[in-house]
């Protein structure tokens, strides 16, 4: 494939070629089938994906995720019972508990990674993709897309689920622990977020943005 690469001596910028983000090797963007991935021929990094109706699907998953996120905040995650007394916790309570105990650094970390970043990812996805779907330009599209990229590693809902499972197992040794409605909503929210990310094709997003602009 490398023979195809002919680089004009003075180009300003181009979206017909791209350099691998992990090893800098230049690739021509190949016509791949929907559902396929393009990987770097030298280091194997993922370069691009194609999905049918990528943006519509990602929007559908993001809206679903946002609805489940709201539900996940309305009911208890777990209920703990010991000696006739019981206590429940909501999603946000973990962060608040750290703040109350004076561990504010941990409170902030837990708030950002389990509540704020996962919520912002979904909100930004909807506020980008919904206007595009309706042929309108999103507010500050470049800023929103950059924010999405920066938020990605800090949204840790899927890890939070494992944290819940470990806490559940630890407690069920000496007390009665039951699962709340919000836990199901939270798991579905994580599934929807993962699907939204998997189906979102960055190139499709940029070209749709260009289409709407013109």
């Amino acid at each position: 494939m490398r023979e195809d690469i002919f680089i004009e001596s003075d180009f300003a910028y181009t979206d017909t070629k791209l350099a691998c983000p992990e090893c800098d090797l230049v690739h021509a963007i190949a016509d791949i089938k929907e559902g396929e991935q393009g990987r770097c021929i030298r280091c194997g990094a993922l370069l691009f994906v194609r999905h049918r109706n990528s943006l519509d699907r990602a929007l559908a998953f993001a809206i679903t995720g946002l609805l489940f996120f709201i539900l996940a905040n309305m009911f208890p995650l777990l209920t703990f019972e010991l000696d006739g007394r019981s206590q429940s916790n909501r999603l946000i309570d973990g962060a608040i508990a750290f703040l109350d105990e004076g561990y504010w650094e941990l409170g902030i970390v837990v708030f950002v990674s389990s509540v704020l970043a996962p919520m912002m990812v979904l909100v930004v996805l909807v506020s980008l993709l919904l206007p595009l779907r309706l042929n309108r330009l999103p507010v500050l599209p470049q800023f929103q897309i950059r924010m999405l990229m920066h938020l990605r590693p800090w949204a840790m809902s899927e890890i939070f689920i494992l944290g819940i499972i470990v806490a559940f197992v630890k407690l069920s040794d000496f007390a009665e622990v039951s699962i709340g409605l919000s836990l199901f909503a939270f798991i579905l929210m994580v599934a929807a977020t993962v699907m939204a990310y998997l189906t979102l094709d960055d190139e499709a997003l940029w070209s749709r943005l260009d289409e709407v602009k013109s």
Binding site: D15, L18, A19, C23, D24, V26, G44, S114, G163
Partner: protein
Amino acid sequence: MTEKFVTAQSIDAVSCPLCNLLVSNSYRRTKSNHCPRCDGELSSRKKNSLNRTWALLITASILYVPANIYPILTLVSFGKSTTNTIVGGVLELMDAGQWTIAAIVFIASVLVPIFKIVALFFLVISVQFNFKWQPKRRAVLYRFTEFIGRWSMIDIFMISILIALVKLQAIATVEAGAGAIAFAAVVIITMFAAMTFDPRLIWDKLGEKV
């Protein structure tokens, strides 16, 4: 390696760090150092990559000690209190016969942080001293290290849930310990260390000698 590879650097261009658009250096010199597509700042390689990664790794290694020595949580139940360190928490799960969960916590809280620190040290050293060894394997090692790092947060989330849930004054309460702060710092600082390391440096040094 006899073939000459065409990299963005070799054609006097850069790849936008955020949106991956290929932008020429002449555009950067004459127009703007911001990406024409996403408006993010352009740079050929991550800034001060090696120095930053070194600094973050050394910090994380130092914090790793208090993270494992100090307790991460204390459970007080009917006047009896038990204190857990990271490893203690795993042992307790094993005693209770919860092997699967014990294995998950052991991997996430003990193996992953050690693996990550060792792997990143190996990667920075390999770039610093121009190792030629297996660039592809090192690239895969980097990708794997970056992917697994976040999973160490399991214990921090577990603690946050326990302290929020178990607060029945006289009957049972859970308190966080100082080890939790150090441990969270190790996880986050190593995440930053993985982000500041630029995997392209693995390949750059190879090209120089060809």
